[in-house]
Symmetry: C2
């Protein structure tokens, strides 16, 4: 089992700006549309787990579905109220009842999903707080937002990681991969 | 004129832990005592500007003074109450009356100090908020503290930077150098 966070942040650690906006993510020019290693990363995970806010923000991109849906693996969306799944995402997106992180992991493991990609601030913070995040892959965008939705939250104790790799992408972003030391 | 921040942070952006502690800075083994480029950086600045808390935390290391004092350039300590300067630091450390960042810069420029190294959370945040930081050199230590003294504070507007360089130090820390785009 492993739970991996793969996310972009501002230099001051935000994953969305004060209005929840993500325009700043595109402040680094990417004329060739390089996927920055995303497909290779997705190949190594079994499923995604995200909160409904994150899911909604992806739907808000108004992608042409299902062709532009970015995830070739099943996406589990956690939310206490009913989650609308467009017909075009039938069989790709599933609602998951909210539960403790370990319980959700057990549910997904029963379906054969052992390597999870965690996305969304709340989901990531809940797993981090329980010590259930194994890897962090963080791409830092060279902007300081000065406020917004933080990636990290409070923790009961410090967590230590080892650096697996770090690379510069598009001459501007620093993508660093960390693995938890337990 | 240029104002540079050179600092280490946790992955969650703290420069000191909840108790103001800095022990986590030493979580990366450095058996050869590599200075990690610090001397080369200091050679390019004229003076340091820091708040009294930061100054006090350096004194609290109980260094053998003046031999172990880490700064070959004049250090200006900003504080509203009188600042104690040990005899051993006479001619190396100077008290500076609190004023607006631009005013302190003007005072130091009159003394010939045009390239400043800003240190300490309050000092850095005040200069950042006024848009007066030109370069950020941030070394990320692979720990998540979960709370503490943050490097960055609120800003009125987003700031954009270009990546000058990024390197892995001691196989564990990622040091990235950013220059403000105005």
């Amino acid at each position: 089992m492993s739970n991996v966070v793969y996310i972009a942040t501002s230099l001051d650690g935000f994953i969305a700006d004060r209005d929840g906006g993500l325009d700043w993510l595109h402040s680094v020019p990417n004329p060739q549309g390089d996927d920055l290693g995303f497909a290779a990363f997705l190949a190594g995970i079994d499923a995604l787990l995200m909160g409904r806010n994150t899911y909604q923000s992806i739907l808000d991109f108004n992608l042409d579905l299902p062709s532009q849906w970015p995830y070739p693996k099943p996406v589990y969306v956690v939310g206490s109220s009913p989650i609308t799944i467009p017909d075009a995402l039938e069989g790709k997106v599933f609602a998951l009842a909210p539960a403790e992180p370990a319980e959700m992991m057990a549910t997904l493991a029963q379906m054969g999903h052992r390597h999870l990609y965690l996305d969304g601030g709340n989901t990531i913070q809940r797993f981090m707080a329980q010590g259930l995040v194994d890897e962090l892959i963080i791409s830092q965008i060279p902007v300081v937002l000065g406020g917004g939705v933080p990636l990290f939250g409070a923790l009961p104790t410090m967590q230590s990681y080892e650096l697996v790799s770090s690379e510069v992408m598009l001459g501007a972003m620093v993508k660093s991969h960390y693995r938890r030391i337990r």
